[in-house]
Each structure stands twice: as C-alpha cells, then as structure tokens.
C-alpha cells in the first residue's frame, strides 16, 4: 500500500460521516433563511474530495482545470436548472395513493 493510504482511508470515513450528517439535517425543519446551512456538509465533502483525493494543492494545471470545470458544470446544472422553478407558474397538486 502506498504511504498515503491511511490518509485516504480517514478521508473516506469522514466523507461517509458527513453524508450521514447531510442525510440527518435534511430531515430537520429549518426557518427559510437558515436552510442554506444544509449546504455546509455538502461543501465540506467537496472540499475533502478536492484536497485529499485530487490533491488540488500539488496537482498539475490540467488537474486543477478539471476541478474548476467540475464546479462550472455544477453551476450549469443549478443555474440553468433553477430557471424552471424560479419562473414556473403551475405546480402539481397532491394526489391520493392507491393502496
């Protein structure tokens, strides 16, 4: 095993813990202006992936480019994606479920 292996293992466990935290906080109800806090564990996870797994600090330019492109893609998904809910006028109503 390479010497960095324990470091990776710890980071991986940390990711799973943060995933659990994210799952947990998604169940809680927050005031609307506090809901943005739900993003915190997700951001921490992205940071761990970038720093520990991708070693962004020491990576060559190409790898940094890919990491930036990943963020850009996220921006496209969220930006273009939110165009719909921000301007939508019709929402589906609740339906009853068959047994």
């Amino acid at each position: 095993m390479p010497p960095r292996f324990p470091r990776l293992l710890i980071a991986w466990v940390l990711l799973l813990v943060l995933l659990g935290v994210e799952f947990g906080v998604a169940m809680l109800s927050f005031a609307p202006w506090l809901r943005v806090l739900i993003l915190l564990p997700a951001m921490a996870m992205a940071a761990i992936v970038g720093i520990v797994f991708m070693e962004i600090g020491r990576a060559p330019v190409v790898a940094r480019g890919f990491a930036t492109a990943g963020l850009f893609w996220l921006l496209v998904l969220l930006g273009l994606g939110s165009m719909d809910p921000l301007t939508r006028t019709y929402y589906h109503t609740t339906v009853e479920h068959p047994e």
Binding site: A69, V76, L77, M83, D84, P85, R88, Y91, H92, T93
Partner: protein, 543 residues
C-alpha cells in the same frame, strides 16, 4: 519507419496467443484482451435488446396488439430501452473499439490504468447480471426513463433492482472515461502532439469528459429514486412533498449529454474511415476536432428540450429550445467536413466505407428531424409520438450502430488478424441500410399523424404503416445477424490480414495484425500529421 517496426514486432507473439488459459483472459490487464471481453458482452446485450425490439414490432402488426397483455408489452419496450441504452449504446464503441485502438493509435503499450480497465469490465458485467436478473424475474414497465411518481409510488415491477443495475454499470462508464482522459494526456508517443492525433481520439476524449461529468448525476438521481421508493423520502413524489419535474431535470442533465456519449465515438469512427477510403486528407481537421469538444460542452445546456410538455416553466422551455439549435451547429459542420473530404476523392466502396456513407445519410436525417422536435411549438404536437421514436432511432441506430459496424469492419483485420469476406460485408451493409429505412421512415409518418409511442394497441388506420415498419425490422434483423455469421466464420477461415490492409496512416496499422502483447517492438516516433495520403493520381496508378 513503418517497415522496420512491423518486422521487429512480428518476432513477438500476438496478444491472442500470448497466453491461452481462461484465467489469462479473465484476469488480463491487456487493453486488447479487455476490448475482446467487452466486445463479446455488448454483442450479447445487443441481441437481448434486439429480441425485445422484435417482440415490440411483432405486437404492433395488428391494431389490437398480438401480445395479450398490455403490461407485458410495457415490460418489453422498457427492456429494449434499458438494455440498448445502458448496456449497448453508451459503452459500445468506447469500450470495445476504443479500448483496442486508443493505446495503439497513441503509440502506447496500454491504457494509463490497466487494472482499472479490467475493474470497469467487471462492474459492467455485475451491473448487467443485476439487470438481467431484474428482467428475468418479471422486468420493469416504467419505460427506460423511470419517471416518478409512476416509478416510485404506482408501480409493482422491479424498479429498484433495474435501477441498481444501471447504477453499477455507471461506475464502469466513469472508470473508462477517466482512463481515456488520463491516457490521452499522458501516454502520447514522442512527437504526437494534440493536432497530430487522429480524430477518433479527439472524439473519445470529448466522450470521456461527458462520461466523467454526467454519469455521477445519473447515479445520484437513481439513488434518490431508489431511496424514495423504499423509504418514502419526498424528493420526487408530489404526494409526499417532492417535485416530479426535478427528476426529469436531473435525469436529462445526464441523458441528453448521453446522446452524445453514444454518437460522438461514432463521429470519430467515421472520421477515420472516410479519409482512408477516399485517399484524402480529412477536410478541416481542426474544425472536426474542436467540434467534438464543443459538442461535449454545449450538450450540457439543452436538456430541457425533453420536458416541453412536462409542466416545466414556459420561459425555461423557450431558452432550452433556443439553446438546442446551438448544438446542431458543430454536428452539421462535421457532416460538411466529411462531404468535403470525399469531394474529388478516389472513393473505394469497401464495406467500412459503405457503412460510413450510410451513417452520413442516416445521421443527417436524424439530426435534421432533431431540429423539428427542438422547436418548442412543433414539439408540443410531435412529443410522445412515433416521430420522436423515428428521430432518435435515426441517430442512435442509423447513426451510432451503423458507425459501430463500420468501425468493427475497419479494425476487424487488426483485432483478429483475419480478413472478413468482402462481398458479405458489403451485402450486410446494404441490407442494414435498406432494412433500417423501411423500419423507421414509416414511423415518421405515423408519429406525424398522431400515433403515440409506448401504446400496446392503435387505431386500424395506422396498420399499413405499422406492418411496413415490422417488415423492415425483419430485413434489419437479417442484416444484423449476417455479420455475426461471417465475422465468426472469418475467425477460423478468413484470409490472414496484413499489417495494413487498407493503406491507412494511423500508428495502429504500423504494428502486425493482430498486434503483439506489448503493441510495438520499439516506441514509434510521430513526425507527420494524421491522414497524410498521397494525391489521388498516385493512388490510381498504384491500383
């Protein structure tokens, strides 16, 4: 340079006979052997998906449907879609032809991560087995798109298992994409600059970028779908606080770019074949190369065109409709470049070229009808009809599958060391072209007249065109079975292939057919750009 490399390499054993135990195949890290493993697997899935398609066409012979139960029919077309999309079209060219020729074209010994390559095959197989098991115990009837709340709340079929199968195979996609990206960055032979790379590599590079960026979104979406179905968390089902259109956004954020995962490698194959069989430099090399990249980028901006009637905001629909036209531009540029390459070329109609010509025509029809359905107002009429079915089959089958067959014939001598019978190759290309058009051209008419897709029965007025389509499917099936026959025959009885049967220029042709386990006896050095063919007068004299 070429002759000495070939002679030196011939002293080594070919990769096919290097070791011959079963374990030497199942545990191989040789990209060429993994390509063969993949080729066998995707062929298997192609015929499974094909059998489901045959059942669908059989059912539609009569207006009331030949299959007694509508639900069985739903399960059949879902099987067809799921298997063909994720277990044939998405992996097809990259994992088989790509795996085989990428290191050879680059002048490398293998991919950057040979073990990861093997792992990705096992992930594909595990995903495939899960999928087949789900189908075997009853299947899924949601359609390949798994839309909620149908899939999460109102459905009795094996959605979770089917979704897990796709989920697992997604990791195989990601691993393959990552492997190609790193290989193309790191393992180019001395002198092989980016602009000296064959276009096939540019295509696969762009495809890999989409694979790596889009597939995780599909994985997350399917995971949420499974969670919602099992734990009733309210993400997509409006009855428990979710938004079903959110699923469509996330699903198509993957699945529209996935269309380009399927077709970009096909573009690459065609860009290899046409210059060789026209003895011409590829017209506008840099344009073709950068069009692949721009398609990969723009393909992420257009997904909402699948959702014009979903209840999505009208403003979003207008924007997505406009953006969809943008992605047509680079695709059209490529078509013009292929035609520009053929112009005044010395065209030879060998089997790979026949497939390539078929591809250009069929893809153009598929692409142009894509403009119809990208137009917001027209799509309200055409969506969910057979027009859409015909449109994407022209792209996926007329385009992609034809390109796959073209590439398979083109590289077959390199892969197996045997020539296939040329006349049979040409006959199959022709039969596939005719069968394809007879099957799918009537579906444009049916759709325009209003026949909806995914229905088990239809009004009697539509029968003539449906019978025509089913008859075409029979011809098409014969066309697809033919290569299975003569290619298998050629493995044992085919003529021995020389190192470069087509007089092509890529590095893969400068090593023997089949290549030795280590690909090249000495590392090749690249001095010329790709497709440097002699002028047609010279070729004429030589022939």
């Amino acid at each position: 340079m070429s002759t000495t490399v070939v002679e030196a390499a011939e002293l080594e054993k070919s990769y096919l006979v290097d070791k011959s135990t079963v374990a030497s195949w199942l545990l191989t890290t040789d990209h060429k052997r993994i390509a063969i493993l993949y080729l066998g697997s995707i062929t298997f899935f192609f015929f499974i998906g094909g059998i489901a398609a045959a059942a669908v066409r059989l059912n539609l012979l009569v207006p009331e449907g030949l299959i007694p139960s509508a639900e069985t029919y739903n399960r059949l077309f879902t099987t067809h879609g799921v298997i063909m999309v994720w277990f044939f079209l998405v992996p097809a060219v990259p994992v088989s032809l790509g795996n085989f020729v990428v290191p050879l074209m680059l002048g490398a010994r293998d991919l950057a991560f040979p073990k990861l390559n093997l792992i990705s095959w096992y992930l594909f197989i595990i995903g495939g087995i899960i999928e087949l098991y789900a189908l075997f115990i009853g299947g899924v009837d949601t359609g390949w798109t798994f839309y909620p709340p149908m899939s999460t709340s109102f459905n009795q079929s094996h959605v979770v298992l089917a979704v897990i199968g796709v989920f697992v195979s997604g990791f195989s996609s990601i691993a393959t994409g990552l492997n190609f990206i790193v290989t193309i960055h790191r393992l180019r032979a001395p002198g092989m600059t980016w602009y000296k790379m064959p276009i096939f590599l540019w295509s696969l590079y762009s495809t890999s970028v989409i694979l790596v960026l889009a597939t995780p979104v599909l994985a997350i979406t399917l995971l949420l779908l499974g969670f919602e179905r099992i734990f009733r968390i309210g993400v997509f089902d409006p009855a428990i606080g979710g938004d079903p259109i959110l699923f469509q956004h996330m699903f198509w954020f993957y699945s529209h770019p996935a269309v380009y995962i399927m077709i970009l490698p096909g573009f690459g194959v065609i860009s290899e074949i046409i210059p060789v069989f026209c003895r011409r430099r590829l017209f506008g090399y840099k344009f073709v190369a950068w069009c692949s990249v721009s398609i990969a980028v723009i393909s992420f901006f257009v997904w909402g065109h699948h959702m014009f009637v979903s209840g999505q905001s009208l403003y979003a629909s207008v924007v997505f409709s406009l953006l969809s036209y943008a992605v047509a531009v680079p695709s059209a540029i490529k078509v013009f470049n292929w035609i520009g390459t053929m112009h005044k070329g010395f065209i030879r109609f060998d089997a790979p070229m026949l497939y390539a010509l078929g591809f250009v025509g069929l893809f153009t029809i598929g692409g142009l009808t894509g403009l119809f359905v990208a137009a917001l107002a027209a799509d309200v009429h055409l969506t969910q009809t057979y027009f859409v079915v015909a449109h994407f089959h022209y792209v996926m089958v007329g385009g992609m599958v034809t390109a796959f067959f073209g590439g398979l014939h083109y590289w077959w001598p390199k892969i197996t060391g045997r020539m296939y019978p040329e006349m049979w190759g040409r006959a199959a290309a022709l039969i596939i072209f005719i069968g394809f058009n007879v099957t799918f051209a009537p579906q444009f008419l049916l759709g325009y007249l209003g026949m909806p897709r995914r229905y088990h029965s239809y009004p009697p007025d539509f029968q003539v065109l449906n019978v025509l389509s089913s008859a075409g499917a029979t011809i098409l099936a014969a066309g697809y079975l033919l290569p299975l026959g003569y290619l298998t025959w050629s493995l044992f009885r085919g003529e021995r292939a020389p190192a470069n049967p087509w007089g092509a220029t890529g590095l893969e042709w400068q090593t023997p057919s089949p290549p030795p386990a280590k690909n090249f006896a000495t590392t090749p050095v690249v001095t010329e750009p790709p497709y440097t063919f002699p002028p047609p007068e010279l070729v004429q004299n030589r022939v």
